[in-house]
């Protein structure tokens, strides 16, 4: 059964109702469960009924994460290549109609950026772009060829591509692709009034194309704030469950971006409190003990300091969200506002003082280049 078919069997309103109907008994059942927790348990852990059990969830989540991943955090940094975009996404700073300066880095500019982020100590890099016809597969290929001598692990967060295009990029050293559905609900259309991103189904099927292409890791997530976060996260879990069974050689990662202020953008429809954010992180961990959980610099310093030991496995540091942000120092190009502006070295020492080893290298390009 394809994910489209599975997805069609689950109505947003019904799922949402089921989540809000969960009781303390359901939460206790999920918390005390011995075997693998399923989507029913995930509902309970995401529900308002779980809010009084936050401490219990955090203790379990920390223990499971330490056993599975150890006391280490994988470090990565985004490298924004372009903010050109032909989509209108009403929550995003790169949205087509936003009157910001547009820039796509030249090979020389990319290398200047690489030089700086290598100086910070990074070995895992995340390439990010908007969605534009100039910034296409051949640009990505050239960029991968250009930067792969400098990194052990390269991931991408760009527009959805075709399976054959993913195969080409994997052949050039691409290891991981992040593709967020943003929201699984019907508000998707209103947030995306123009551009190729309007096509909800094509985006929904992107992880399948990646899985078929043999990618090592797929990152999933929704943009928290667009619609009811509990329901959106449950659908992310449904997607994850399907993909894990379908593509058994692929790793998965979850991100939980909360909407951040960006120039000319909408206010979030719903806001998550820090308590709810912690609930969400722990719910994901209790639901899936093996999935990687990634935390970005959208979150504040204090929040990141504390939450990092509760289930997170990777985090970014020192991020700039504008193309050329590390070396060109231009303003007003950014995708969203960074909340944690500390340097990678500061973050690393905070991790160490929390009893965690920051890991800069946990892959080798040699493992991607023999496929």
């Amino acid at each position: 059964m394809s994910f489209q078919e599975i997805f069609a069997q689950h109505q947003w309103q019904e799922i949402s109702q089921q989540i809000y109907d969960k009781t303390e008994t359901d939460v206790l059942f999920a918390l005390q469960k011995k075997g693998k927790r399923d989507l029913e348990d995930f509902m309970a852990l995401l529900s308002p009924a779980a809010e009084p059990f936050l401490e219990e969830m955090a203790v379990l989540s920390q223990r499971i994460t330490q056993r599975r991943f150890g006391k280490v955090i994988q470090m990565y940094i985004p490298l924004y290549l372009s903010n050109e975009c032909q989509n209108i996404c009403t929550y995003c700073g790169f949205s087509l109609t936003n009157p910001i300066k547009r820039l796509t880095l030249t090979p020389e500019e990319v290398l200047s950026e690489v030089d700086i982020i290598k100086g910070y100590g990074f070995d895992h890099v995340l390439l990010v772009t908007g969605e534009s016809t100039h910034v296409d597969v051949s640009y990505f290929k050239e960029t991968l060829q250009l930067i792969r001598p400098f990194f052990s692990h390269i991931s991408m967060e760009v527009q959805p591509l075709e399976e054959t295009e993913y195969r080409q990029l994997i052949g050039e050293g691409l290891n991981t692709v992040y593709i967020y559905q943003e929201t699984y609900g019907s508000l998707y259309d209103s947030y995306h009034p123009k551009g190729r991103k309007r096509n909800f189904e094509y985006r929904l099927e992107t992880p399948d194309r990646l899985g078929k292409a043999g990618i090592h890791k797929i990152g999933l997530g929704c943009l928290l704030g667009l619609d009811d976060w509990r329901t959106d996260s449950w659908f992310t879990g449904l997607h994850l469950d399907y993909l894990e069974k379908q593509y058994w050689k692929t790793k998965f990662s979850i991100s939980f971006p909360r909407i951040r202020p960006a120039t000319g953008c909408i206010e979030p429809k719903v806001t998550l409190t820090n308590h709810q954010m912690v609930q969400l992180i722990c719910a994901y961990r209790l639901f899936n003990e093996n999935v990687e959980l990634s935390l970005s610099t959208r979150e504040t310093e204090n929040f990141r300091n504390h939450v990092v030991t509760l289930g997170i496995t990777s985090m970014s540091a020192g991020s700039k969200t504008d193309p050329g942000g590390y070396s060109l120092h231009q303003e007003a190009l950014e995708q969203f506002t960074i909340e944690d502006n500390r340097s990678p070295q500061e973050i690393a020492s905070i991790l160490q003082s929390s009893g965690y080893e920051p890991v800069w290298k946990d892959w080798d390009m040699a493992m991607d280049m023999t496929a």
């Binding site: 330490q66 056993r67 599975r68 991943f69 150890g70 006391k71 280490v72 052990s152 890791k217 894990e244 058994w248 050689k249 692929t250 790793k251 093996n290 160490q352 009893g355 965690y356 080893e357 890991v359 290298k361 946990d362 892959w363 080798d364 040699a366 493992m367 023999t370 496929a371």
Partner: protein, 254 residues
Amino acid sequence: MLTIQGKQLNSRLFLGTGKFCSNEVMRDALLASQSELVTVALKRVKLQGSNDSMLDYLNLENVNLLPNTSGVRTAKEAVFLAELAREALETNWVKLEIHPDPRYLLPDPLETLTATETLAKKGFIVLPYINADPVLCKRLEEVGTAAVMPLGSPIGSNQGLETKAMLEIIIEQSNVPVVVDAGLGAPSHAAEAMEMGADAVLVNSAIAVARDPVMMANAFRQAVLAGREAFEAGLGPVTKEANATSLTEFLNVS
């Protein structure tokens, strides 16, 4: 004394180096364990250039590195990586880990057999991580494996010797050292494996994630020594009844 391909090791406890909260704690735990063979994931170290901080901490007297291929999905990838490691780390020892399943990290028997054969022919000393499959162990012997490393339970699970019935057969049949790897969550699990006659055990998570990894490393050291001594001393038979009445006593009655 344990001997693998002519290499003599005083300790029957092998250590993994992942998951530790710092390189200092990893080194101290390693010293406390008195292990002489430690695995290091090739993906964690720099294979080109120098100045790898993790390797610096492992540069200790009596400690031999056993590079592992964790992360590869096929025999081809494993062979490629092992050859890079041989150049970079100047050792022909390799712990073969081919687990295409990223969740439970269960080893692929077919790819592992292929890679073992290829690497053995290329002069590597191969220690493959495998499921507790007695037939696979014999097949690996036939293609020149230096040892076999069957799992006690899924890696990192701390569940102990869930594969005990198969491990007993492997130990009984093996012509190469048997190293029980993965799933040993407590010193008692390690002792149990040694009492059964395993030649060595490999431990990582249970030490790395303990509240006090250094103390736990020492506990595993003692458990492995005790388990080995018990094996060599010969364990008494297990009986349920204290004094079973003899069924053949009547033969002695004239």
